[in-house]
């Protein structure tokens, strides 16, 4: 039996969510093992798996055909195969229509559950016969399996409907394009069904076609399919009964096996070959075109780009040297040659629109930073000529992807996170609506803990065990110290439990399978007017957004150009800081106003006082800064790149630091290579730090072509396909061996590739980030109040909680922090004229922004004179007033917090104004006549004269005795943390310091001796367990003097897992480790710090 005797035309992958049980790669590999020459994976209502099937098939010498199962209005699924490009376009359009368009209420929808809204976003998608008819050209229809409309009718004995359906299919698709599909899975009764279908086919004069209807690659994957059935029906394996499959036969079969199964129907097998011959489409023929840009009359896109580039260069570059002109000219020529002008113009136009119409900061990063045209157009902020960045890394003629499609670079644009970024995204949708733009999908896969939990439920394991498992291992998978079996045992599942092996097997098999489609953090694909003919679109979970059915890697592999609109919290901070500075008449107003190479800024960075700063604020970064000693932007770029999992794996941190500090001699992998590698590695002292360097080395030493280098780049970043990386590594090794390099040299270079895989940082990217790190550091150093106010206004972001940021602001920048106040605070945090930072009302929990806006409006008309005045003129509810009083926001209108709490409960209603006026007057008169009287009436507050400062006690004016005592300091701090999650006052650790005589303050660690045993204590603000740190956990404890860091080795962590992950405050004892002014405690003993005065602080855990 040869591979040409049968073609598999109907299989489904796990992208037929909760139906298919194997990923596309597994299907292709199985097909190859079975010597199938062609394979069509038809997923339900989508071509989700098509790129991965195509790419793997191409690598394995198979032909991947394209098609899908289309859900019809009666809930049945009709398989269709794509014959040609028209068919593909029609299929994409049809799916897009079914997914995006609300159904008319008149359409009878049998797929919907009772009460389900046919207009709802998550409704089952379906196509009507009319839509099918309008998009039938270029498609071949099969009658389908037991989910198909024909077999469903037969199953109920309704032969006339079955015949009518086949007839209708003939009418819609044409008699030549319909096949009656037959499948056999060694089940009783199927021969009768095949006979009926054969009779039907004969009666309608259409051919029979045999398929496997495979839902999984190999029989062993049946367990996944059964588990998916349970998930789909919300039941357990024990209860699923006959919903489960009857056997394990729904797998791919070889030609020989199919011939044996259909020995009585050889024509059904033969027809698969005829159909395959008629299929003339693969994703190689996608025919995606670059977007075009409308230009003024008389201009071409090329001439227009040239004109605006030179105009912009005049503005942006102070001196346009001949070299600069030459570079711009060179780039423009290539851009035009590659027909890329439209893309540049679109990106330029978006940046211009964002900046000019919306005043939004926008900055390109990534490989676009290598382009002088991008720089002069204002797309990027880094001058590539100044930093000697090579344009060819961004765009070159020879860039061809592994799939044979052109490989185009993305432009990544950083925007302030939040509304401003959404504003830009919505503008793109608006410009290219309805089918010209969509977000790139993000395939959410089954992963460790949640998968095990879901499978535990399917297996009917007790909730308490699963809950305990989730609690114990809530913060991700740590396979380096404890395997899943042990995790389950520690969660209470006996090692001998009869279902444990099944749970382990299911968890293992599900790992990495697609679970559902999310949206990418910011990637958009543009194809003005007809993106839905390239790839189907569907609604995203966010209102007003659509996504394509492919993820970023698939889009890149197929040559689709993507623009990333990435929301960056720090961009929002910078934008707001600039605005706050402008409001106070200070510079800078934009990036370019920030002075370069400011020594004070670098001094601050060197001292690792970088809490709140972009990228270099983490514990790992701060511990490296004093050793790495960055002194300029390129140093900072190296610093940004160095503390990444890649370089840590590759053991590059220490050599680079040592070489920079003169403690180790600089070499270039091997003395024999110095001459060739020095130009590439000189700036990084012979250490391979950036992706670009890796690619250059591969070209220089291994003789990689541009295409091979591109393959290497993509393999290093393509997380889903470790086999791709293995292949290119083997190729690199072979090339190096061919050139007879020493084994040690080859090992070193190949090892570096492994280290770079998944984490490697491009140089241009690092420089863009370094620019943000420098800008934020400069602002922290020179515009600290504005910077911190903006940081607080853009939470959550970064590593530290607002409480920690405030403590840092006070400690390191000497900022005066003022408490939240109804008389002085705005909604957001602000900077007061004397440069004090005022906490905003947005930090008060439970307060509505609308009510605050109203309060601000009435306050602007006239300040509040008394507490009753405040109550009368504002719209706060009783709980809101209570919340304000509890955090001291009403202190300027009352003697103290409790006085305010007492008074706000006795608020007069609006219709009692007159009565209140007289009551107050009367009480005031009483006051004046008898000031010694203990006055505990509810009206006390109303008679207090208002003062300029708002503090009656401070004025010396008569202050009556209130029935409630003021809060103590610890009560105030507790109320602050309860109501604001931060305090403008002292750190709570100061309250308990006297009770911790044996505990060393964080600030004192630097003066203690290396190796000395110390105890540190404080609120846990960070718990980290880097995947590459062999299970080591890093804990940061904050006290009133700063942050102390502890290292916990895996063994201790496992023995105290819950104490470390659950206790809000800890006391850690261990040996002090000192290095270049950085102190860590190597934990030997960890106990909870249980003191009532310590409020629970937010911690940044395991990110």
């Amino acid at each position: 039996m040869s591979m040409s005797d049968y073609v598999e035309l109907h299989a489904s992958s796990a992208f037929s969510f909760l139906r298919g049980a194997s990923d596309p790669e597994a299907l292709v590999r199985a097909a190859q093992a079975l010597a199938l020459g062609q394979l069509a994976v038809l997923d339900r209502d989508g071509v989700y798996s098509a790129p991965r099937t195509y790419s793997t098939a191409r690598e394995n010498g198979l032909v991947a055909r394209v098609g899908a199962e289309i859900t019809l209005a009666d809930g049945s699924a009709l398989p269709v195969l794509v014959k040609n490009r028209t068919g593909y376009r029609n299929l994409c359009k049809l799916i897009t229509l079914a997914k995006l368009n609300p159904r008319s209420p008149s359409v009878r929808v049998e797929g919907l559950a009772p009460g389900e809204d046919p207009h709802a976003r998550k409704r089952p998608c379906f196509a009507t016969w009319e839509e099918l008819s309008a998009h039938a050209e270029g498609l071949i229809a099969l009658t389908g399996d037991e989910d198909g409309p024909v077999v469903r009718a037969l199953a109920t004995g309704d032969l006339p409907t079955a015949a009518a359906t086949v007839h209708r299919l003939k009418t819609v698709f044409g008699a030549d394009n319909v096949y009656v599909e037959v499948q056999r899975r060694r089940l009783r009764g199927e021969n009768v069904r095949v006979q009926l279908l054969a009779d039907l086919a004969a009666a309608q004069k259409i051919p029979l076609l045999a398929t496997s209807g495979a839902r999984y690659a190999i029989p062993e994957d049946r367990i996944v399919a059964d588990a998916f059935v349970c998930l789909r029906h919300h039941t357990t394996l024990d209860r699923a009964g006959r919903l489960l499959s009857a056997n394990s036969e729904r797998h791919l079969r070889s030609a020989e096996q199919m011939h044996e199964l259909f020995a009585d129907r050889p024509e059904a097998i033969a027809h698969t070959l005829r159909v395959a011959d008629r299929l003339d489409f693969t994703l190689q023929n996608l025919d995606y075109e670059f977007p075009s840009f409308p230009v003024p009359p008389g201009e071409s896109m090329e001439s227009y780009l040239r004109a605006i580039a030179y105009r912009a260069a005049d503005r942006r570059l102070r001196h346009r040297t001949p070299e600069v002109n030459e570079q711009i000219e060179k780039e423009l020529r290539l851009i035009a040659k590659l027909n890329f002008c439209g893309y540049f113009l679109i990106v330029w136009d978006i940046c211009k629109w964002a900046r000019e119409s919306r005043g939004t900061l926008i900055q390109g990063r990534g490989s676009a930073a290598n382009s002088a045209v991008c720089y002069v157009l204002g797309i990027t902020a880094v001058n590539p000529m100044e930093h000697k960045l090579l344009f060819e890394r961004f765009l070159s003629e020879g860039r061809v992807g592994v799939d044979g499609n052109p490989s185009w670079p993305d432009v990544d644009l950083d925007l302030p996170s939040g509304d401003r970024r959404e504003d830009v995204i919505q503008e793109i949708y608006k410009r290219y609506q309805p089918y010209g733009a969509a977000m790139v999908a993000n395939v959410i896969t089954y992963r460790g803990r949640s998968t095990t939990r879901e499978m535990g439920k399917v297996l009917g394991l007790p909730d308490d065990i699963l809950n305990r498992f989730s609690s114990l291992y809530a913060n991700g998978d740590f396979p380096q110290t404890i395997g899943l079996e042990d995790q389950l045992r520690l969660s209470g599942l006996a090692k001998t439990h009869s279902r444990l092996p099944t749970l382990l097997a299911l968890s293992h098999k599900l790992k990495g399978l697609p679970r559902h489609l999310g949206q990418h953090s910011g990637g958009m694909v543009l194809c003005p007017g007809h993106l839905h003919t390239v790839v189907p679109l569907e609604p995203a979970s966010m209102e007003g957004r659509t996504i394509v059915q492919w993820d970023k890697d698939d889009c890149e592999n197929l040559g689709l150009v993507k623009i990333d609109f990435l929301g960056l919290g720090m961009m929002a901070v910078l934008q707001e800081t600039f605005e706050l500075c402008a409001a106070r008449g200070q510079s800078p107003a934009v990036f370019d106003d920030i002075p370069h190479d400011d020594p004070e800024t670098y001094k601050m960075i060197l001292e690792a006082k970088t809490v709140g700063v972009f990228q270099i604020e983490s514990r790992a970064q701060m511990s490296t800064l004093p050793r790495f000693k960055p002194l300029n932007l390129y140093d900072l770029a190296m610093q940004v790149a160095i503390v990444r999992p890649g370089p840590i794996v590759g053991n590059l941190v220490h050599p680079l630091i040592k070489r920079r500090n003169g403690e180790e001699e600089v070499d270039y992998i091997d003395p024999s290579l110095t001459e060739r590698l020095k130009p590439i590695l000189e700036r990084t002292k012979g250490v391979i730090l950036f992706q670009e360097q890796m690619l250059s080395i591969s070209m220089t030493l291994a003789g990689f072509t541009g295409g091979e280098a591109e393959e290497l780049r993509r393999a290093m970043g393509f997380t889903k396909r470790p086999d791709r990386l293995a292949n290119i590594k083997a190729k690199l090794r072979a090339h190096l061996e061919e050139r007879a390099y020493a084994a040690a040299v080859i090992d070193k270079i190949v090892e570096a590739v492994s280290a770079f895989a998944f984490y490697g940082f491009p140089e241009s990217h690092a420089i863009s980030f370094a620019l943000l790190a420098y800008a934020s550091s400069w602002l922290k150093r020179h515009r600290a109040p504005e910077f911190y106010a903006s940081l607080l206004n853009n939470q959550p972001m970064g590593f530290y909680s607002p409480a920690t940021l405030l403590q840092d602001a006070r400690r390191h920048c000497g900022i005066k922090v003022r408490a939240v106040c109804a008389q002085h605070s705005a909604w957001k945090c602000t900077v007061e004229p004397d440069s004090a930072l005022r906490i905003g009302l947005n930090y008060v929990k439970g307060i509505r922004e609308r009510a605050v806006a109203h309060m601000l409006a009435v306050r602007a008309e006239k300040p509040f004179s008394t507490l009753n005045d405040f109550i009368a003129r504002t719209e706060f509810t009783a709980p809101e007033r209570r919340a304000l009083a509890a955090v001291g926001a009403l202190n300027t209108l009352a003697p103290h917090r409790r006085a305010a709490l007492w008074q706000v409960e006795a608020a007069w209603s609006a219709d009692e104004t007159l009565f209140r006026h007289f009551a107050v007057a009367e009480e005031f008169a009483e006051f004046r006549t008898d000031d010694s009287r203990k006055y505990a009436s509810s009206k006390t507050e109303s008679v207090l004269p208002s003062t300029a400062s708002g503090d009656p006690a401070a004025t010396g004016v008569f202050a009556p005795t209130l029935p409630l005592k003021p809060m103590t300091l610890s009560e105030r701090i507790a109320a602050d943390f309860a109501g604001l999650s931060l305090t403008a006052g002292d750190h709570p650790m100061r309250l308990v310091r006297a009770r911790l005589p044996d505990v060393t303050c964080a600030a004192d660690l630097v003066v203690e001796k290396d190796g000395q045993e110390v105890t540190i204590a404080g609120s846990v603000i960070c718990r980290q367990r880097p995947g590459t740190a062999k299970g080591v956990v890093f804990i940061s404890l904050e006290d009133e003097t700063g942050i102390a860091n502890a290292i916990v080795y895996a063994r201790l962590f496992e023995s105290l897992r819950l104490t470390i992950t659950q206790e809000p405050a800890l006391r850690i004892t261990g040996k002090l480790q000192h290095k270049a002014g950085v102190a860590h405690v190597r934990a030997d003993k960890i106990v909870p710090l249980r003191l009532g005065e310590l409020p629970e602080q937010a911690s940044h855990d395991f990110h």
């Binding site: 009764g189 009857a246 279902r499 209570r882 029935p963």
Partner: protein, 504 residues
């Protein structure tokens, strides 16, 4: 108008109202622990509900000494005490504990109010003042015997008695309500949830702190709920009791997610049941004529047994022995998750043998015989068979007969019908010779034949997730050279061949 002296005389002879409260601290936990012998001497904490972030609402002293505090989440509590057992409250255990508490209360006074779970209030005005303490304290050992630790408060109003009971160790009588109330924590007066944060915000800690504030101010700020709270805090609240009537039915149930896999924990719970029910019967001056114990297994089977006592009895020991005998012979395939014991009461000495009562000379003996029979054939082998929802042919379970017949399911699609199969029961073990994968000849005790035509295999399998139940079978339809069409089955993992039947 009565003379003042007469009035004084009458009032002097009417007893001053006096109330006692029996209080079970951490009632849900106590109720649970009295049914779980395995948790004795273990640190135990009770969670508020089944959510993962549910707080600890009660814990025993061992857990407390290990650092477990109320309000911690389960994982946080485990962080402090690694050996901690986290439990959820068991409503049936609480119902039984409450019934036990009421039983003891009715032995002290006929006027008993079930105030709240774990709290009963008794009118003890009729007790002699000098005997009250000794009588109330005398009830403590009875409660201990029922697995409960109670405290007792005595005061002139039900509310004060309740407050006293909460603080008692184990007995406290309130003499002066003002000095008694002032230092008590604010929570004693059960502030409404909406008011509680306001009071804590004001820094109030005790009832005295609250009553130091003017009643009018509180009323203005906190409304009727605040006013009622203030009055409670000041001891100004009085109310009549809402007495309950003693139980007329005598039953006890227990259901938990913690399944019973051995007999010992079942006996532990049953001992609690019979002790309490014996007390109930004694209170009502009745005796038990029969006991009915119904167990519910995890597979929803319900082995049940009604045991008629040779003569009416109120002895908890007799009840227990009777149940023990039956349970000893009982075997179930699955763990037990629910117990229900029902006692048929009779007046002890006036019962007459019924005309239609069974004629067994020795009912206990008959029950024992049945129980032994079950022990021999195995549990789960007695009952009505039901077809399982499974691809496995003939898969069935045995269960108690259904009360009503299920509606008939729609018939299978017409085209699935084939030849009728005459089943061999049991199927005939066979030896089968294969050519390739296909049967070529068959031998059984009755058949020796060469296969002329074989169709198959038809392959079905299931229960793959449970190794002990996993099954797989290949079926062949074979026509023998000597005539006849048979169904051959090859079963895995037994790796055995059978002739399952002959087609008509």
């Amino acid at each position: 108008m009565w003379d003042e002296r007469v009035c004084r005389f009458i009032l002097g002879h009417f007893p001053r109202p006096m109330f006692a409260v029996l209080h079970l601290a951490d009632f849900p936990l106590q109720a649970l622990l009295r049914t779980r012998a395995d948790l004795d001497r273990q640190p135990v904490a009770l969670l508020g509900d089944a959510r993962r972030e549910a707080p600890v609402i009660a814990c025993n002293p061992l857990a407390r000494s290990a650092g477990v505090e109320l309000g911690l989440t389960g994982p946080q509590a485990l962080a402090r005490c690694a050996g901690l057992t986290l439990c959820l409250s068991v409503p049936t255990a609480e119902a039984d504990a409450q019934a036990a508490l009421l039983s003891v209360a009715f032995s002290l006074s006929p006027t008993v109010e079930a105030t709240s779970p774990g709290v009963v209030t008794l009118d003890v005005s009729g007790h002699r003042a000098d005997e009250r303490e000794s009588r109330l304290c005398g009830a403590m050992p009875r409660l201990v015997a029922l697995g409960l630790q109670a405290t007792v408060g005595l005061a002139a109003t039900p509310l004060l008695a309740q407050y006293a009971a909460r603080l008692a160790e184990p007995f406290l009588a309130v003499e002066n309500h003002r000095t008694f109330l002032a230092p008590l924590p604010l929570a004693t007066a059960d502030p409404p949830a909406a008011v509680w944060p306001i009071l804590t915000g004001w820094g109030l800690r005790t009832l005295g702190d609250l009553t130091d504030l003017s009643k009018a101010d509180i009323a203005q700020r906190l409304g009727p709920a605040g006013l009622a709270l203030w009055e409670r805090a000041a001891g100004q609240t009085n109310r009549p009791l809402h007495p309950v009537v003693p139980a007329h039915s005598f039953s006890a149930s227990y259901e938990t997610e913690h399944e019973f896999e051995t007999i010992e924990p079942i006996l532990f719970v049953l001992r609690r049941f019979v002790d309490r029910l014996a007390l109930d019967l004694a209170n009502a001056a009745l005796a038990a004529a029969a006991l009915t114990l119904t167990l519910t297994c995890t597979d929803e089977t319900t082995p049940s047994r009604r045991i008629r006592l040779p003569e009416p009895s109120t002895s908890a020991d007799i009840f227990f022995r009777t149940l023990y005998t039956w349970l000893e012979s009982l075997r179930t395939d699955n763990a037990i998750k629910r117990l229900h014991l029902e006692i048929e009461p009779v007046r002890a000495l006036v019962r007459q043998q019924g005309l239609f009562d069974n004629t067994l000379v020795d009912a206990h003996g008959f029950a024992d015989t049945l129980a032994r029979a079950t022990a021999i054939v195995g549990s789960g082998r007695v009952g009505t068979p039901f077809l399982e929802d499974s691809h496995r042919p003939d898969a069935f379970t045995l269960a108690a007969p259904a009360d009503t017949l299920s509606p008939i399911e729609p018939t299978a699609p017409f085209w699935l019908r084939g030849l009728s199969l005459r089943r061999f029961r049991p199927p005939l073990p066979a030896h089968v010779a294969l050519t390739g994968a296909s049967p070529s000849s068959v031998w059984t005790n009755e058949l020796h034949a060469v296969v002329a035509v074989a169709h198959g295999p038809y392959r079905i399998s299931g229960d793959w997730w449970e190794r002990a139940r996993e099954w797989e079978r290949d079926e062949w339809d074979v026509e023998l050279v000597d005539g006849g069409v048979y169904r051959l089955v090859h079963e895995t993992p037994a790796k055995a061949w059978y002739v399952e039947g002959e087609y008509d």
